[in-house]
């Protein structure tokens, strides 16, 4: 029984800051290939983005599903360290509270975790429909160059067995042990990274290529069978390394490379990238998605586009809806000066 994506949507906060504003403030901008990035407004957070993106994903399904039977939420930067979060989103939607809801929060792999748990539900329950809301806006100290890349965005998906836009062909995962790259100690909202560059790159490459090659082997596929590949984007350059090693070209990466204009979207990175690809993909196209979470692990998912339907609001439209802030405004909005 085929399972797949029957609806999707994205939300990008309206504010942006340019690379030049960082350069003016710090003399340097550490996010490779990122031209500008999205910034959460003062009155926005992961839950407000999630509520909006969940509604958009549902609105993109023409024959509104009978009801959501499974909800999954993903983010690394929720506004509470402890408190159930799904209720804020589902209450905002007016959805009944009798749905099992899971919350995936401990690494940037969380987005694909939520998608895969949604698919597990849909595969197991006839007539089941899963709603997945993935939103992220990672934060670090303004003193840390790790902070430069961090953007904000959200993507939502409706997963079902019928009315599909893209069918899930298969998935594969890797978990491994890597210490010291991108971690957040208890009791702080600031990420840290010991920044051992070659070691970090090695962890990223090993996990992403490990999951992706296992998946392609399982499905009997080669990189050239795919029209698009979407790889975790801690900046706009990292995915190219993993893609190249797997045998993918920059052309296959281009449509889903949202980080060049949005920065590092954390758990929402591959989700927003996938939405950008679905916006332009044609029936028959294949899409490989590979997330990465530090610590470390990767999920790879293979999709085949089977429907022409697109989101009601495209990634391109959200990219165009923007207003710039300068670095001082950025610091104020972020609460970095009080």
């Amino acid at each position: 029984m085929a399972v797949g994506i029957s609806g999707y949507g994205v939300v990008i906060p309206r504010l942006r800051i340019k690379r030049e504003d960082y350069t003016k403030a710090w003399g340097t901008f550490a996010a490779a290939g990122v031209n500008e990035k999205s910034v959460l407004g003062f009155d926005e957070d992961i839950l407000t983005l999630s509520a909006k993106v969940a509604k958009r994903a549902l609105d993109s399904v023409p024959t509104r599903a009978v009801g959501i039977t499974r909800f999954a939420f993903a983010s690394t930067s929720a506004p509470y360290a402890e408190k159930l979060l799904s209720g804020t989103i589902l209450t905002g939607l007016g959805a009944p509270g009798g749905t099992f809801a899971s919350e995936h929060t401990t690494s940037t792999r969380a987005g694909t975790e939520a998608i895969l748990t949604g698919f597990e539900h849909v595969a197991a329950v006839p007539g089941g429909t899963a709603l997945v809301a993935i939103a992220d806006a990672p934060t670090a100290s303004m003193w840390d160059s790790l902070e430069h890349a961090m953007g904000a965005g959200a993507a939502g998906f409706v997963l079902a067995r019928a009315g599909l836009i893209a069918e899930l062909e298969g998935h594969a995962s890797v978990v491994s042990e890597h210490l010291g790259e991108r971690f957040r100690p208890k009791d702080t909202d600031r990420l840290r990274d010991l920044n051992v560059r070659k070691y970090n790159e090695g962890a990223f490459l090993a996990n992403v290529t490990g999951a992706s090659s296992a998946l392609m082997e399982k499905l009997g596929r080669k990189p050239e069978d795919y029209a698009y590949v979407v790889i975790q984007q801690p900046d706009a350059r990292a995915p190219a390394g993993a893609a190249g090693k797997l045998g993918f070209t920059d052309a296959q990466l281009a449509a889903g490379l949202v980080s060049a204009n949005l920065g590092d979207l954390g758990a929402a990175s591959t989700a927003v990238g996938l939405a950008a690809v679905l916006d332009v993909a044609k029936v028959g196209d294949r899409v490989l998605v590979a997330s990465y979470g530090s610590g470390a692990g990767s999920d790879a998912l293979s999709f085949r586009v089977v429907g022409e339907r697109k989101a009601t609001v495209s990634v391109a439209a959200e990219l165009a809806r923007k207003e710039y802030v300068d670095y001082v405004q950025y610091l104020k909005i972020k609460g970095a000066i009080k």
């Binding site: 309206r14 407004g41 003062f42 009155d43 926005e44 957070d45 839950l47 407000t48 509520a51 909006k52 506004p79 509470y80 804020t88 209450t91 905002g92 939607l93 007016g94 609001v313 207003e323 405004q329 104020k332 909005i333 609460g335």
Partner: protein, 140 residues
């Protein structure tokens, strides 16, 4: 600060998060926020719950800034500058008050099409109070 206790806030979550109003069974008008007695006919307490669309247009507006913001919004004003507060006439009839977001204050216009969405309103006692704000309607 205009203190609203958490239990009081909690009781009004359906109207604050997603604009649930009351339709009077006697005169058919929509009350928002919900009232004990219909404010239009003053003759009925018989209501049915109605999910409002959140769509409407700006009836009138003002800008709050330069220290004019209520204390719970002082930090917001300090971080982001003056902000618009609007009275919006909803499609279903009620005129309701709310902040406007995702817009430069200079771009707010009477009759502008808006839609409601969930935002952070303020934080008190470590608890984030969510509620609706208006944003320009898509394509407006």
């Amino acid at each position: 600060m205009a203190h609203v206790s958490v239990p009081m806030y909690w009781r009004t979550i359906p109207q604050r998060y997603r604009l649930v109003g009351h339709k009077c069974r006697k005169c058919g008008k929509v009350n928002f926020p919900p009232k004990g007695v219909c404010k239009y006919c003053n003759g009925s307490s018989d209501f049915e719950e109605i999910q409002l669309s959140g769509r409407g247009k700006v009836h009138t507006f003002t800008l709050l800034g330069a220290g004019g913001a209520p204390p719970e919004f002082a930090e917001q004003e300090k971080a982001g500058g003056s902000y618009p507060v609007t009275i919006v006439e909803l499609e279903e009839g009620p005129k309701i008050i709310g902040q406007m977001a995702d817009v430069s204050p200079k771009d707010v216009r009477i009759d502008m099409a808006v839609t409601a969405e969930l935002r952070r309103i303020y934080t008190e006692e470590g608890v984030i109070r969510y509620g609706f704000k208006f944003v320009p309607a898509e394509g407006a």
